[in-house]
Symmetry: C2
Subunit: 350 residues, 2 copies
């Protein structure tokens, strides 16, 4: 029988988030019912709550960086049992039959994956509701095992900010000795620095803010490059094996392209909007590449979590109560957070 649960969301683009009642489906044969402990706050949550991408269906309950404990499992679930520490990221289903799904890349599902929130719900009709809620019910194939040795709070942002940076670093084979640039030091960028460092790369934080240098180094950057300083850029021309660009808005691309080696790639993971024009000559002279990358598949998300368990990597976070969410949104927009807000869901249960 479906359950009414507590959640926090918004009924319109101009309204603040507030307490809501939503429905979760019963625990079906392949389902895992999860008590949500923590949920990270992603910039996408804000875009969706405020209908920035013009595809929001209200009420919206955001949240796709979910950490929780298994409450119960369906009678065909083999991978999980009650009490397991688990995670749910941006996807809760996909077609499972297309080339991308078969390749373990459900985030590129050719028939359309089901997002954790604001996505057509195959089970209940209507639209899915995310992690700003007390419980969630997810097919076991889209549930991740979280290493028990990690701090569970700091693990929440791995499910989106983490996998979004991990996936391109691994896909483009960043390895020991590579010179890797991370552009932008926010929720994504700070994970990019940690991962690139742990993979053995020489990590250069590329930022417009000199004030971020000390933080970047403490996170694992070996160098900090101020990209508005042209003489700095000149020193690094044609030298990067890979650049991960996490800036969430359109920005000048030419200086970064100029710093790529021949055949090297800059991967955009943040700017979901029209990019600024860059010079054709910049990519032609050096056979350079610009690519995009979207979150990651379930298999690689599990690999990332296992890697984090081995290397004791979590996100740097600020904990908030559910009731603080509207203020937190304003601070995210001002990039006033180091580096991710995580909601303590206990505060919603009270």
């Amino acid at each position: 029988m479906n359950q009414q649960i507590k959640a926090y969301g918004t009924k319109g683009a101009d309204e603040k988030l507030e307490a809501l009642q939503i429905e979760r489906r019963e625990t079906k044969a392949k389902d895992v019912r999860i008590e949500i402990l923590y949920c990270g706050v992603c910039h996408s949550d804000i875009h969706t709550a405020r209908n920035d991408w013009k595809n929001s269906v209200y009420p919206v309950v955001p949240g796709h960086e979910i950490i929780g404990r298994v409450l119960e499992v369906g009678n065909e679930v083999a991978k999980y049992k009650a009490g397991d520490l688990v995670g749910v990221g941006c996807l809760v289903d996909s077609c499972r039959t297309c080339h991308s799904c078969n390749d373990g890349l459900e985030q590129y599902c050719e028939n359309g994956w089901t997002g954790t929130y604001n996505s057509a719900d195959k089970h209940l009709g209507g639209y899915t509701y995310g992690g700003y809620s007390t419980t969630i019910v997810v097919d076991e194939s889209f549930v991740l095992k979280v290493p028990e040795n990690l701090d569970a709070k700091g693990t929440a942002p791995l499910l989106c900010a983490g996998i979004t940076t991990w996936s391109p670093l691994k896909h483009w084979n960043v390895k020991k000795g590579d010179k890797v640039g991370i552009v932008g030091l926010g929720g994504l960028g700070h994970m990019g620095v940690k991962f690139a460092n742990a993979l053995g790369a020489h990590v250069v934080m590329i930022t417009t803010s000199p004030s971020k240098a000390a933080d970047a180094k403490s996170l694992g950057a070996h160098e900090v490059l101020i990209s508005t300083d042209e003489s700095e850029v000149q020193k690094h021309l044609n030298s990067f094996d890979f650049i991960l660009n996490t800036v969430p808005v359109a920005h000048e691309m030419d200086p970064y392209i100029a710093m790529l080696k021949r055949d090297a790639t800059m991967v955009m993971v943040g700017a979901v909007e029209p990019l600024k024009p860059f010079h054709g000559g910049g990519i032609i002279l050096g056979r350079k590449r610009i690519a995009g990358s979207l979150i990651g598949g379930i298999k690689e998300t599990q690999e990332m979590l296992d890697f984090c368990g081995e290397h004791n990597i979590t996100s740097d976070i600020e904990m908030i109560n559910m009731q603080d969410i509207n203020n937190a949104y304003e601070r995210v927009i001002k990039a006033d957070v180091k580096y991710r807000f995580v909601i303590d869901m206990e505060s919603l249960k009270n």
Copy 2:
């Protein structure tokens, strides 16, 4: 002893090309002296003659699609002998020691390659003079062997238009059964169609001009897609394994990106200017890639010529006399040529 020879060039950006006398170096130990039979007319010739790229040093003698016969060789030359049919493309020297040169990619020489014209001349001082001339002297390492079975006139454009399209098709591993789009049907695009067809791909000519459909098919395209017809674009969404974009000016990129498969690449070879902005979401949703590619290295240019010999591939050309060059430039600018002008250099000798 250096030689004075006949050439055709311009003394300033606003002047027409006319007969000039220039100097060629004596035939040194590693040099090949070539009697030029034919020289193709590349759009870059016009950009340089008219100083569009703000780097022209006058007098300029253009021409880097050179076919000729060896007149004499230096005493250390092993690869060529008098009478051999040979070609010279865009490069006549490079550092030969950097990573790119060691990889056979002299066009990306990290210390700067020597262009066939308008490039600092290591031997005579001043700047190099190109193929709009009766003879040229080139180090044997930068001379190509031309298959004798090919029509020599139609071979000239292979040295630039040919290799510029061949190199990315091979580098990105276009193979039998791939769905390959060629954007733009000019000097480069018509070679792209021929090569992609010969490599066994399913070739789709992508053009804004319905009038080009019949020509594209006769050149080897299996389909023609009118990119301004949105319903046509919709039919091809996420379906191309590779797109070669030969358009020489900035243009809308989003429709082409939308037609790439996951992980597929569109390579820009024509637009050496600021590109139009495209949407970050277009590359992020599908991990798609935009790359550039510049002409090709000497080794791959030889491989292309050998392939052309085996498959009897040459460029479609219109022959002109040297004295027609100013009119030909105007027609190139209007894209009024099928598909490349080639100068019969006999006309300069008279």
